[in-house]
Amino acid sequence: MAKLYYTPKEVAEILDISDDAVLDLVNRRTLPALRVSPRITRISIAAFDLWREGYTPRRRRVSIRPAPRKVVGGEHETLPAPRRMVRA
């Protein structure tokens, strides 16, 4: 099985800070983590690596717009392949 998460203790060792300091980062939502229960916190390794690199997601512009029309096919039904335009 692949290891997908760190415990706060493991993160504390990597960052060379105390366990409490890690939990403080988690509680302030600075460090992305998952609270599995009040006593168990898991920190995704992929999310931790991004955080450590200083990654900040770009804020998206969000607007209301008409939903694109969806073509719904029946079971075992396929859409015809698009015709190739051939220039004479």
Binding site: L4, L34, R60, R61, S63, I64, R65
Partner: protein
């Protein structure tokens, strides 16, 4: 819980930001700079996001789907009337889904509005619908599905109560 259209726009932007902080790769069109809260012909507003969880390079994909439908029940007061949140783990080959849809049907037949799907082997249903604990919002769903993925184990569907 009711929300204004403006609240929903902020909610969607926050949701995308959270997913990316947790290393989820959003798939088009949600990876664009401008993302739509889609309005269907019946006037409802739909959030429909699809992403990939950060699986190790040698692994098959782990898909995350987050879908919500909001209806206007009063002047600029929107209510979430349907949700479908799903995790499809193609490496461990299981599926978890948290659903609320066709509420009248489910209440009439099973006495519950929400249900879950749990397939230890994707595509093989031991039970059609399980009792589902209501999901507060997409953030709650994400926590639950991300937590399931992080455990890197197949789900134990036997702990769920089968509705039929």
């Amino acid at each position: 819980m009711l929300a204004s259209a403006s609240d929903l726009l902020t909610y969607l932007a926050d949701l995308i930001e959270t997913l990316e902080r947790y290393a989820v790769t959003l798939l088009p069109p949600s990876d664009a700079d401008e993302v739509g809260l889609e309005q269907e012909p019946d006037g409802s507003l739909v959030i429909d996001l699809e992403g990939r969880l950060p699986a190790p390079r040698s692994s098959k994909d782990v898909d995350l789907l987050l879908f919500e439908r909001w209806r206007e029940v009063d002047q600029d007061a929107w209510l979430c009337v349907e949700y479908r949140y799903e995790l499809r783990h193609h490496e461990l080959h299981y599926r978890l889904a948290l659903h609320r849809h066709d509420e009248a049907h489910f209440v009439r037949h099973f006495g519950v509005a929400t249900h879950e799907h749990c397939e230890v082997t994707m595509g093989v249903e031991t039970c059609g619908h399980y009792v589902g604990e209501p999901v507060i919002d997409a953030f709650d769903a994400f926590d639950r599905l991300y937590g399931a993925w992080l455990s890197d184990q197949k789900p134990d569907c036997s702990v769920l109560q089968c509705l039929g």
